[in-house]
Amino acid sequence: MKPLRLGLQGLILGIAAFFILGPVVNLALWAVAEQWFFPHKLPLVYGFKYWETVFRPTGNAVGSLVTSILIALWTVVACLAVSIPAGYALARRSLPFRALLMLAFLLPQAFPSVAVYINVARIFYSLGLNGTIAGVVLVHTVHALVYSVWITTAAFAAVDRDLESAARDLGAAPLRVFMTVTLPLAAPGVIASAIFVFLESLDEFTGTYFVGVPDVTTLPLLMFNASMQGNYQIASITALILLVPSIAFMLVVERFLKADVLAKVGA
């Protein structure tokens, strides 16, 4: 009875593995397929011909990659610049309607966003921000704020208050206490929030689709366009490039996002 049951569980997990990993494997196959057409079950010719096309200096991909990373870095800067003071205040100071304030940062994620983005694009158009890096950074920033504000708030809340009062007792001014005690202790959580913001921006599609046109082409947009034109190799290679930072950062994020901070997120 026991081996039979284990075998059955193994079979079910095997089927689950097929459906979870199959699409990713198929993507990887397309990335190294030089020729693949019906009715062949596997690519006829393997190779990296299309990788050269993608990475050619004159190709769009390198430009899009640079654009994407530039936008993601600026988004991190913008998010941290407003979230570090906000997170500190939300964690340590008394604020009226604190719960409502916290909720406000969740709203951009919790609402059907297409309707908002088309109107952001319309407003940006009149301001000359459409199709600019700055415009896309602003849209990404608002979308990612929930991560930076909530996680930095949790990070500051997890800092031991006694250490701050000890520094204060030794005569350090509040700003100095913040810069030399509070901020360094909260740094791992702040870095974790920066990672989430970076990924959120790197992977963002809908906002860029409406606000970035026609001049800003990030990697997700390049991938989408290649896919819709039926160029599966280019689309798959671009998709794989997008997956690298996602997986790499997710592997290291646990190092920065400690349990004591994690438990306080959203609280």
């Binding site: 284990l6 569980q9 997990l13 689950a16 593995a17 097929f18 979870i20 990993l21 199959g22 699409p23 990713v24 494997v25 198929n26 993507l27 019906f38 062949h40 079950k41 596997l42 407003v82 003071p85 906000a86 205040a89 100071r93 008394s94 604020l95 009226p96 304030l101 406000a104 919790a110 609402f111 059907p112 966003s113 297409v114 309707a115 908002v116 983005y117 088309i118 109107n119 319309r122 407003i123 602003l138 849209v139 920033t141 608002v142 704020l145 992977d203 599609f205 809908t206 997700p220 991938m223 989408f224 896919s227 599966y232 798959s236 998709a239 997008l242 997956l243 996602s246 997986i247 997710m250």
Partner: protein, 277 residues
């Protein structure tokens, strides 16, 4: 002290201003835009268009996301249950490693994965043919409403299972063990003992999943070819092809009402149970 409060508010103000200026203001703009023509006169034409042209698509959207949400719920409960009740450490460890994969994959990449995997000549059909499960001629492309559901469930289950499994792992194990001692089967323990205790988490997870899937533009564009289609695609079409903000905003209002009503059902339900969150 009052001055201190002002400083505190000033610290939050820049972040809050971003939300107000780049989310709440466009949101208001969207709601107002649904009732205004291009030159700013009041109209109900947008809603007339929505009713005449997009009734089917609205129904289609609700059905697709409804089915996907139910499947996400079932799958995440099954995964969480296996992780909590599984007896083989190897299989439990394998599932723990396996189910998180799509979590790291953006929707737009998930769309591309599915375009390849579910195609007529995709890896899924090819595997089925190789295993002798179907004849080559029976292979059919799933790149339509079925593909959209599969892509949504594939991507969103990872997120839902993460929350659901976390809540299940935090449960007090004594009731589970007591039921086990009394000889209850594991599926029964899952349905009758574990799920009732985590239903709050499950409900929040499913509401979030519903709203997330309602906002996704890339997957229905890439996977769900043909008509009917989802209203996010219709909104993009009204803008890109006609510059018709009135109808697009009216559709946007419909999507907000859909998201809002799901949240409302959830809130009413949890209020009735006397445990609002």
């Amino acid at each position: 002290m009052t001055e201190n409060r002002l400083t505190n508010l000033l610290l939050v103000a820049p972040a809050l201003l971003l939300v107000v200026g780049l989310f709440l203001y466009p949101l208001g703009y969207s709601v107002a835009g649904a009732f205004l023509t291009k030159d700013g006169r009041g109209t109900l034409e947008g809603f007339l268009n929505v009713y005449q042209l997009y009734s089917t698509d609205i129904l289609f959207t609700v059905v697709i996301i409804g089915i996907a949400t139910i499947l996400v719920g079932l799958a995440s409960v099954a995964i969480g249950g296996f992780l909590v009740l599984g007896t083989s450490p190897v299989l439990v460890g394998f599932l723990k490693w396996l189910y998180r994969w799509p979590l790291f994959i953006p929707f737009v990449v998930a769309g591309q994965c599915m375009r390849a995997f579910l195609a007529k000549n995709g890896l899924m059909n090819n595997t089925f043919v190789s295993l002798g499960l179907i004849e080559p001629l029976q292979a059919q492309s799933l790149l339509d409403w079925r593909g959209v559901i599969i892509a949504f469930v594939w991507k969103q289950t990872a997120f839902a299972a993460l929350l659901v499994a976390g809540a299940m792992a935090a449960l007090d194990r004594s009731t589970i063990e007591a039921a086990q001692d009394m000889g209850a089967s594991r599926p029964r323990i899952l349905v009758e003992i574990i799920v009732p205790q985590i239903r709050q988490t499950l409900a929040v997870t499913l509401v979030l999943s519903f709203v997330t899937m309602l906002s996704v533009l890339s997957v229905p564009m890439m996977v769900g070819s043909g008509t009917p289609t989802m209203i996010t695609v219709d909104m993009a079409f009204r803008i890109n092809s006609y510059g018709d903000y009135t109808t697009a905003n009216a559709l946007g209002l419909v999507s907000m009402v859909l998201a809002g009503s799901v949240a409302w059902i959830y809130l009413r339900h949890s209020l009735r149970e006397g445990q609002p969150r």
